[in-house]
Amino acid sequence: MLKILASDLIKMKRKIIWLLIFLGPFGVAALEAVNFGLRYEYLTKEYEKDLWGGLINEAGFLATPALMLGLTLIASMIASIEHQTNAWKQLLALPVSKLRIFTGKMLLASLLLLISSTLLLIFVLILGLVLKFGSDFPLLGLAKMAYYPYLASMTFIAVQIWLSISMKNQAIPLTVGILGTILSLISFRFPDWLPWKWPLLENSWGDPAYSALAGLAFGIVIYFLGAVDFTRKDVN
């Protein structure tokens, strides 16, 4: 499996995907910097009791659509590398199982988004320190802000990887991903079982961990279905 990941990483060399991975979390932190810069008085009053909590709250709000959009683009870029010159036929004629190839793509997308989420944590932490919210920052809260939506969106990582790999024309997976991003933005009042609601971490139990868990569990199921579908289909 490590061989496959190493091979996939070589293919990512000099790709703008790396810029995207950096730019996503950077953009979120930058927008929050502007947000707090412009409305410093108002926001520090609003979150007077818990400044760090306020920042985490605001940043988490922006991070969700950024993540949904980012995972859509990343999945599509990963698949496009193979689609472009129809490299699938070369790749899958190698002595490597199709299951492993598919798993490699899923792992790569998960890994890249994990890096993004970690960068988000770091950038928001730096922003909070710059805003002088105190050095007693809540690391757990920051980690939850960064990693819960990541886990909750695992379902969509699996869906987008499956879609992007299954079809050469990326218009469909991109449309699905973008519509999903919009849907997740307005899914507050949707029922809890709707996957698009999970990345918002809103649920009737009031514990975001449930949303994260649901997204992760369902993501594994979808990954599995995608892998079975991929191994069964002929290579074009």
Partner: protein, 304 residues
């Protein structure tokens, strides 16, 4: 007898209701260059994709190195190198990086990259992004990638398609040198008879999904040279006489035709005609070119 490297029986592939490949029995002995010949759309690529496990056969079995491909696919693929249709590459990577991405998966030694680059003579271009390569260079890179794992069997699908004459010559020489220098068995497909004629030792001809000829290139050539035509009066009577004497004659456009006939038999035929007082005006050998044979076999479809 030589060991069989590829053996398929009843290999078929259906798309919708149409069979793109129907009941193909390939037989490829070790060390041969097997030319897989057929007009465009005959089913060459589809057959090759099944041999590489990229497409599942609708029917039939595939044995490579004596192993069932379905059961031991990865074991088989370890010993096979392939290039299917147009070359695949990662355009933003250099030639070396392209090979490295594949080498890792094959567990081949790093030094192998330099070896294959020099075999296809791309050593000096190794550090350039592949998207700037000519088609011929991309094709050579594809062959280099196919050679990375030190394969015993090389499967090349129309490797000279779209190349200029010098590119074609280069690839052909490369292919011809392989069995000699490296003991590799090669399956190479083409829609050009002239191509196959110049490099193959064995030939399989496929048309509309069916194998219509499979034997050595010499047998195919022999078929093209031994057609004796006899011109006489009352050809139909003469023809009946020859048939009654047990000769395998054909009547075509008022002339008698005997194919694959020995010198001894032809002298007997002439003697018999003369004895029965048929005037023999001409006895001539008609050489059919390989092209004629190919056209005849494929029913006139798709020549050069």
């Amino acid at each position: 007898m030589k060991e069989t490297i590829i053996k398929t029986s009843g290999l078929s592939k259906k798309f919708g209701t149409r069979y793109a490949v129907a009941n193909v029995d390939l037989h490829i002995p070790r060390g041969e260059i097997y030319g897989f010949l057929g007009p465009n759309g005959a089913g060459k690529t589809t057959t090759i994709r099944m041999l590489l496990g990229l497409a599942k056969p609708t029917n039939g079995t595939i044995q490579i190195f004596g192993k069932d491909l379905k059961k031991e696919k990865l074991e088989v693929l370890k010993r096979v190198g392939s290039l299917v249709e147009y070359p695949s590459y990662y355009g933003h990577l250099t030639a070396r990086e392209n090979l490295e991405a594949i080498r890792i998966l094959l567990d081949a030694p790093k030094t192998r990259i330099d070896e294959v680059l020099s075999i296809v003579r791309l050593t000096r271009e190794a550090k350039r992004p592949v998207k700037g390569f000519s088609l011929g260079m991309k094709q050579r890179l594809g062959i280099a990638a196919a050679l990375l794992g030190n394969p015993e069997l090389l499967i090349l699908d129309e490797p000279t398609n779209g190349l200029d004459p010098s590119g074609i010559l280069e690839i052909r020489e490369l292919i011809k040198s392989m069995p000699k220098e490296h003991g590799i068995t090669i399956l190479v497909s083409s829609h050009l008879l002239s191509e196959i004629d110049l490099m193959a030792t064995q030939v399989g001809i496929i048309s509309k999904g069916r194998m219509i000829f499979q034997d050595s290139i010499e047998t195919l050539r022999r078929r093209s040279s031994s057609n004796i035509v006899i011109k006489t009066d009352e050809a139909e009577e003469a023809w009946k006489l020859l048939l009654s004497k047990g000769h395998n004659a054909e009547l075509e456009q008022g002339r008698l035709q005997l194919s694959n006939i020995s010198d001894h038999e032809i002298s007997k035929v002439i003697a018999e005609l003369v004895e029965s007082r048929f005037p023999v005006y001409r006895v001539q050998e008609e050489k059919k070119s390989l092209e004629d044979i190919f056209l005849e076999l494929t029913g006139g479809e798709g020549g050069l």
